[in-house]
Symmetry: C3
């Protein structure tokens, strides 16, 4: 399996998923309870009652105002994780306290910090299109029964669109066109670009943009290890002018495809996805189409990765892969994840000294 990277921010939920119902998510193996207080603040704490370890996200556990009441014996907790009531006695044991998690709500994601030290000034990477008046967004989450490294591999090498997503977002040119890869090791970012000058327009873009002929199609990936993946997708009719020197680009359609990649357990992953567009902003039909279409694409990935994980589970130790040019980005991502995971372990060691 791909090692977990601790001391990082992870997407625990889309903002709209966190509300006045108790939500349980397991992030890097840690069971986390999420809910929103009456004044709208997202909070995160351990999803296990201190008494007998009952999951606080499971019914009949419930919210009482901003407090969580365990559904088994009624241990009750405030938003700071402190226990405020136990059955049969007035005295609350001092150690009756749930671990809380630092939470940041940013770009319509609820991020939690998983680590052994405090985040300090560290902030999650940005995906501003997801919470911008200049974009319209569709989004969802699909769980994967597989190592999160399989999803990183998948997204870093979009040549698979041609085969796994043919008829949706794949065309022959995606697999045929070579990529360029840049790695910012220090920042932990991998950039992979594929610029197709004259390509078939797949249904995903033909139906949403209305373009009828061939297109120039740019795929510019930014992977912020470990948990955020951005695909800047630029679509324009062949022959249309390129971007202006000032960065404006009025002759093209832009879609920002964003993935929050969150390891849940060693063999399960949350695949948070969002598609933001800068055109047809008010067109519900386009929104419906993109939601349905991208969800189908994500589910094609989910099915393939579940199949792949099962296949890998039967491999003997030391089985071999064969990597080629298209894997440059994925391999760079694996190296960065391995380094970050090792650093996380060292930080734990340092904190213990």
């Amino acid at each position: 399996m791909t090692a977990f990277v601790r001391n990082q921010w992870y997407v625990a939920a889309h903002a709209h998923e966190v509300g006045r119902e108790l939500l349980g998510r397991t992030v890097l193996g840690e069971p986390i309870l999420l809910y929103r207080t009456e004044d709208g603040r997202a909070v995160a704490m351990s999803d296990r009652c201190v008494h007998r370890r009952f999951p606080l996200s499971e019914k009949p556990s419930r919210l009482d105002g901003d407090r969580v009441v365990c559904g088994y014996h009624g241990f009750t907790y405030g938003t700071d994780g402190g226990c405020v009531s136990v059955p049969g006695q007035q005295r609350i044991p001092r150690t009756a306290r749930l671990k809380t998690y630092p939470v940041i709500e940013q770009d319509a994601f609820v991020w939690v910090w998983i680590g052994d030290r405090e985040p300090g000034d560290t902030l999650p990477p940005r995906a501003p299109w997801l919470d911008s008046p200049d974009h319209t967004v569709v989004r969802g989450m699909e769980p994967i029964d597989g190592d999160y490294g399989l999803l990183v591999d998948n997204l870093m090498d979009l040549s698979h669109e041609t085969y796994l997503h043919g008829g949706y977002i794949g065309t022959p040119e995606v697999a045929e066109t070579p990529i360029t890869t840049e790695v910012d090791d220090k920042a932990g970012i991998v950039y992979v670009s594929r610029h197709m000058d004259d390509a078939e327009c797949p249904p995903f873009y033909a139906e949403s943009t209305g373009i009828e002929g061939r297109i120039t199609r740019w795929q510019d990936i930014e992977y912020h290890a470990p948990g955020l993946y951005l695909l800047h997708s630029r679509i324009a009719p062949v022959g249309a002018p390129g971007p202006n020197a000032d960065g404006t680009d009025p002759h093209a359609f832009h879609v920002e495809v964003v993935y929050g990649i969150t390891p849940s357990t060693e063999r399960t992953t949350y695949d948070f996805w969002a598609v933001a567009r800068d055109f047809a902003l008010e067109d519900q039909q386009v929104s419906d189409f993109l939601w349905e279409n991208n969800r189908t694409v994500v589910l094609q990935d989910v099915v393939a990765l579940n199949v792949l994980q099962k296949a890998l589970d039967t491999e003997k130790a030391g089985y071999q892969e064969l990597s080629i040019n298209i894997d440059t980005g994925g391999l760079a991502a694996r190296r960065i994840l391995a380094r970050l995971a090792a650093e996380g372990v060292e930080q734990v060691g340092a904190a213990a000294r």
Copy 2:
């Protein structure tokens, strides 16, 4: 997991479950075949044919008079476990013999002895209300995907009624009222009492007794480790006279709630339950109501304990619980179980010397 306690009687079935159909039950990990002979005697023997280990409780295995015929190759056994017929030859190997189990039918339970020595004079603890003309009984069995220790914990601490069984048997007073606990270490019995002088009457008792106002409600638990749990429940309108000095108690309603707690495997448990009442003896509607209602309550426990077991399965070794006053009885039960389990092991060792 909670250690198994050997050299003890366990409920293997309600008496009505054992008949002329072959019944398989696994008790403390041992597969046991149960059936009733033509003259009505319950017998128990190993549920594995000596030949190729086929389960004798599985079809097409069948009874032929009082003999069991294996459904695979026809090895046939008498009630003493001895093989009386094999295919293709007249000679029966001398070692062709199933292990039999001591059986006692008592209080409408079929008890089996699981141990390395004979029970001698040891008898199962009593629950006489279950087979008494002065009581009417409803009963059932629900399997739990969890360690039997979780069910012991659950039943020893009834404060959970308020939260898990609200609307059925729980009211605020159960969780609020302190308990008194007594432990008879030598006999292996834990007593937990909670006397509520002025409490809301939950639907379970309101509908069955017809009481309309508030009640005095006594819960007197007797846990006979490892496998029998008795809850003496006394319900009376507030202000009604208490029991007489001679033990009679004509102004109250009495319900005896009995649980046979039988470990099946390390992670599965049989939850045999029965509810005996000393009122409305002929009223089928009350019987139907109590059966339905108590089964719902038991299933609420089953769901919660299955959830809890799954949560505990993901905990790291050495995870912590926090215990308070209400847990006094449960902790005492755990101590007795640990002692009995250790004694069982010592007895095995002694027997081997």
Copy 3:
């Protein structure tokens, strides 16, 4: 579990199962892709893409002429396992090659060689009735969730027909009649014979042959370890003349029941079955009856062996069986399998030196 025997031919499929759809089968733990080329030749190769181990038998992987295109990133392979195309570049890495498996199509079975050396002159054992104009055949395959040794045991001891297959092929005489067993250790063949001179005719034979009274019924088993089992079944009315000296036998009905026993994983087995008859060759109703009836019998075995495997999974190490005369053939088969398995390991060792 029963040890795998390497350096042997195994039935991987009925011939009709291998066509222009990609078929995945796991044989002795090795994932194998099977398909037929455009000119009709069956080929077998590793079912894992060299790139990221995606199963080539899983959609959207597909055939393009005689080439296999991986459904994940489009790695494309010829029938010799060599990779002929990868995405994003012209150069094919030299090591991009799938392991291929020797294949022989014989007697309407597709056999694959599982081993560490080449088969050389070794050929699979024969079952010529399955592909003969003098016979009509019905066939199928049922997977078993059990060790293949359980299926060998099952088929070597037909006394179980009386109990497990009563009402189909079992009658009391099968279990009652002693067997004779011969073992050709060198060739790895076990012969078990049971000749019933005057027996009830079970529905399987009564309905297919039209015989109305009692029969002589011969069961002559030839087990070619590890993977082919033949049951020569001879049925004739009681009193009919026996076979002629020249081997012809015009007064009897002959049914050749053939099993390909193929270990899939340590706990799963393919049960390939076929029933060939030398009578009523054109009678579709008899074919339908025999297909339905034999499939039911096979499924009775499957259910029993699945139950048995689950029971064995809970046994402690060193549990005991008890064997009698009817087990002579099965025990001989186990000895031969153990010897062949050990030889397979030695051959691996020898090859490595």
